[in-house]
Symmetry: D3
Subunit: 285 residues, 6 copies
């Protein structure tokens, strides 16, 4: 179970409110690279964790709980960036400051153009769980597979795309308070990339985890095709060479090679449509 | 651009059609761990690839094109498993064989219960791009971030959850043809896990890629908080020790430590609601 | 604007309530082939109709309004099929009648298995706007393009898939009341297929409407490629002959031919990733 | 910011694991009436709260944080109900106990039929954020309007549908541990219904809050039509009498009456389609 | 069943077409606070109404039918606001009038920037069922629970957020015709808020309806926790006092109190991962 | 199975990159009228084709494979249009050329306003599978009904709305390279409209295919209502005359007529709510 403190994990200051930056920050709340995603992903991985070793459930709870505080910081930042946003057609934006140079002199009607409309129309100048183009977050993005190594790679993917997003927001930002907040979040993403990769290392690295799932007897897979790069060039020209076209496989269990893709199967033959199945008469044999 | 051959990449045989296994196979077509996802993900990563080295675009095209053939195999397998599925209430399922032991004697009406209804009502006994519970695939799951290392981890995540799914389908299967097809697909997932990790290795491994994106000057992140595990225990009890709580970080640029999470920020103060913003009068300062 | 009559357009009777058939009927309410779709599609086409001739708006309103009554009939049918559905684990289903032969003797818990769970848990034994596998209807399926001929083909597509669905439901039904209701709906779909094709005919048939939109000057399209079937066989084998591979085009403006698909463009070259764009350093030129 | 305790708010025990009840419980996790919804709704209302009185933000945080623990309890309950669920076609379910009487003797293949397939194929026998028919939770259901009274009614609606769901689950349950857990959750829903209505009362009840938003000058609304029930009977027959057809309005600012709906507007006339707008030539004036 | 009149319920005039206001109006069509939602919600509540008293079905039909006319008015308003919107890059917007002052002199290309792109590309300058940021309406927002009191609160919530939206649109509007139309819609929302609350009053108010559902025997809920406010402060500091922390409960059946949240349960223990379940070998006990 | 060539089907050139046009092009990638839709629709129709005549499967594969190359061309076009798009707040757009006249002098921050934010924040200046307002493509739009004639009309609808879209993009474009690419795509849409209609002709035209499905015995439909236009005028005024109100039906099997819609059914009577179903006590008979 959970507790709260009314204070924020890290300071959130906005000197020059900017409603378009509020829109951009939404990506870090409700985007697929955002904080709702990691928060809920880590919680569901924790709650469903099956392992003789309870430490993974516990670790996941620590970090999931931290991430909840990140959503809160970002939601606060969005609201602060919307403090002076237009709510009526008659308003005129002030001309002061960095953003004023952009918004200044625009009517409310005009200043509304670049905003997320739901910031004006649906939330009363506050954040909501959608991305920077207004698409609501969809919980199908919570990856929790029941396989610890697979989940760790899902988490690395989430924190890698998350840190990419955070640095893009940093570059798009002009407010020092926002840059300070983002520099903290970028640092936390650095740590979280490390953390999930460290679990992989603790599980034995490539040799200890691959192929995922490592509990499936590898003799049941078709071992003629498990370390081959298939080329699909129409003209049979070879694919570019890389670490994956020759040499030992990363798990030490095979040798990479290149194979030209060729049909091993036949043209499939489905039965004709059956009466009563809603087909045209011409489809019924 | 692209070409086709009418034949399949690998044989698809079904000895005993089973409409419930057809349902389960849908997860590998339209599930978030499925083949549409990897196919389209690799295509979009290829088409948007920005790099002085064109080899990554090329490699991605090879594998994306292969995956398109996997969707085709699975769609064929679904249709073959639906060959004898009920389409009217009056039918009676035959009692022969493995599935007959389950379906046998059931009326059409009863045999329909465990099926995806859209297999009966919408597709005429064929596959469609949805998962095993009928939820259509949503293209927001195509991860293509513009960052090569992040994308590789997204791909590892996809192939790891994909192989986990394929082995679960293998265990759920009873038909030798289906097990043979899945043994091929499981092997290809083994290779693809290798392949994306090999790109990471080629880029220099942890040291060469972390933190992702490695093009963001690390001095701009808040370096007090980039290698610390934050504990959120309400009672301050320490988190479980792991590779991520002490020792050198994986990128060799820091040292792990543990920090008890504490509010560094204040209770946030948003401005009161503004007139004309649709709030209750009591919210307006 | 609109009016209602409390009575139904056509009688809806259910002699033997069947909660699994209630599930199947949902496809005709909230499926992409269902009645919400046609109702709302015709309304939005009417409301946005731009034409010097007001008759199309009017005609669309007539049929949209009729379709609203069809949703009502189906929702009533779903509720009647759920009259005796299980709501508690302790119940035991009666054994009488056609459905009783299936449900009979099952406990409430067991009888719940084949149902849409939201019929039990969310609606209190009534219909809701989702399909037969529980996926809610999504209004992106309302096709209203602003082009009258395109919209008519969208409507034919809707009524064709709609009648296919209705006949499949008819075949899956065992209740005479349900079959009677469906025989009415199937008849209405017959008429509506006719109706939209009759608009095409009134607009001059293929010659008068094709290519859609016919207001775009055809000399602006690349006229070397507008009546050619492109073959994508990897081995260059010819495609199957058909009405579309030779002879005059249907609009009388061209002649069909077959062309082997070949790259006319080059390998695309995107600029390298830019600094500050969140890429890996290795991607920056 | 937030803290966690590894223990649960209330005990979660399952004596007889039942994978179909696991499916039903998903509605309380990822259904629109479920706990993710209220948790996230209260958090976003708190984080965006604009009011001179900070108590509402604080109160919302208390309850949002509590609800997070309810998701955890339900996720635990789902996992425990899946402990003995089938994962391979070859298994045979044991025949002991209440559920055994249902599952007993079924093969793994057959026992899988009534389950959510993603419990088998995607999560490794654990919960995920979707409803009882497998539809993922969509964050557009987080209602946080920026209007305190509107939000309170959204919350009452959520807790009312939430308690209805919880009592339906109670009735569908057969396990004493599950009934005990649900009896706790039902009690909490009782309190939360009270809590949001108490805010309305504190704001002055109907007179103090209606019409919502009460900050919009009521003289700007068309006062001829603000307390009239509009009848849409096609034959002009009167609507049924009720508290809303006569007598003083609930806010004390008007008097209810009944009006027959009649067109006050004209048939709308849109401009014809414009050249270059993609219409058929016949639509262009 | 239903009938139509070609005329509108209330006049819809637009003096100065404004394509950005067309975008904003979309929220009232396809937003979660919009008219499709209330229309369909009231229809589904009517069609599924189970009650010995048929008056509620009838009343819901009256209002649902009225709401259909509101969607029509808004769709007309969107189309009229798009009359002069740009459709080609070469156009230049006129400079006359209020909007001309904003759009004037902009090229077609530039004037397109603030618009919903689908107004240009998909609809031919007409409305479609999506919100102001282009997200299509999703029918999962149709709340019809089978519990009359819960549904009434869902309806109050819909009309409260709906009227908040309508007043925000009024403030964002500059056109007198649009303000007149909105003043009518705001008035109707006032009435509809009243109407649903009047049902609650007719059912006996708080005492007669709470806790919802009132048909569940309250002794089955855990009566130690049904009128307590749970505090989740990490430091145990008391929550803010309110009507909900002390005094009699609103239903007269209990007394409010405050309780500090404490774990009553244990750390959950799930079984280890099972062989054949797709986990890593390290997770299997 | 499938092969690729690194070169494009047709040249894609962009002289003046325009990030807002990049946004508009997204509609042709991930919009419901776009290329992912037709590509996947034709593939699923091919893979599930049931017919004694294998030519339809083959033909569909040819065209589906071609469409995959169209997505590739469009994705390339989007990336090229984003080449000079802003990635930081500090940039200033150049003033050269057509777009420079629009973007010129704008700061990066300001130039970002009209863009899809995910082009900046999520993809690193590349395409993704969403529409021009950022809504991801949803695979429920893949229509493959199992009925060949219904599918052909779905395909005509797709190519008709697709060509409408492409001509709108042509008109919105200012770049000669983009207009050249679009002139090719418009031509291909012309052919594809022809192609699907030619299948209908080959199947015997209206007489040979209608009503769809033609395999359902027409005597089972209610033949009193299968060629009647139902009028829903509230005042009984006749509908506008058209090809569909009189004369022989298009399939030659009936005669059109007009009927005033009248209730043939009764007011529906659902059973009262049952105890244990979660209703209010007042609803239980």
């Amino acid at each position: 179970m959970y507790y709260h403190d009314k204070r924020l994990q890290y300071p959130v200051r906005v000197e020059t409110p900017d409603p378009v930056f509020a829109r951009q920050l939404q990506q870090a709340i409700g985007g697929i690279e955002g904080e709702i995603r990691v928060c809920m992903q880590y919680f569901f991985q924790a709650w469903g964790n099956r392992s003789p070793n309870a430490k993974y459930r516990d670790m996941l709870l620590h970090t999931a709980t931290e991430e909840l505080g990140h959503i809160e910081m970002l939601a606060t930042a969005v609201a602060l960036n919307l403090e002076t946003a237009p709510v009526s057609a008659q308003e005129t934006a002030a001309k002061d400051g960095v953003v004023g140079a952009i918004m200044g002199g625009k009517s409310g009607r005009e200043a509304m153009e670049g905003m997320l409309q739901r910031h004006i129309l649906s939330t009363g100048l506050a954040a909501y769980p959608a991305n920077a183009d207004g698409v609501p977050f969809d919980m199908s993005h919570i990856y929790a597979s029941g396989n610890l190594a697979a989940d760790m790679y899902c988490n690395v993917a989430a924190e890698a795309t998350g840190r990419v997003l955070a640095t893009r927001l940093y570059n798009a930002a002009h407010d020092p308070g926002m840059r300070d907040m983002l520099s903290f979040m970028i640092a936390r993403d650095t740590m979280h990339q490390q953390q999930w990769l460290a679990v992989i290392e603790e599980l034995g690295g490539h040799a200890g985890t691959l192929p995922i799932p490592n509990s499936f007897p590898q003799e049941k897979e078709n071992q003629k095709f498990n370390y081959n790069f298939f080329s699909t060039s129409a003209d049979g020209s070879p694919p570019p060479a890389g670490r994956w076209t020759q040499g030992p496989s990363l798990d030490g269990k095979g040798e990479f090679s290149v194979v030209q893709n060729q049909p091993m199967g036949e043209e499939p033959v489905l039965g004709p449509a059956r009466p009563d199945s809603g087909a045209e008469a011409q489809q019924i044999g």
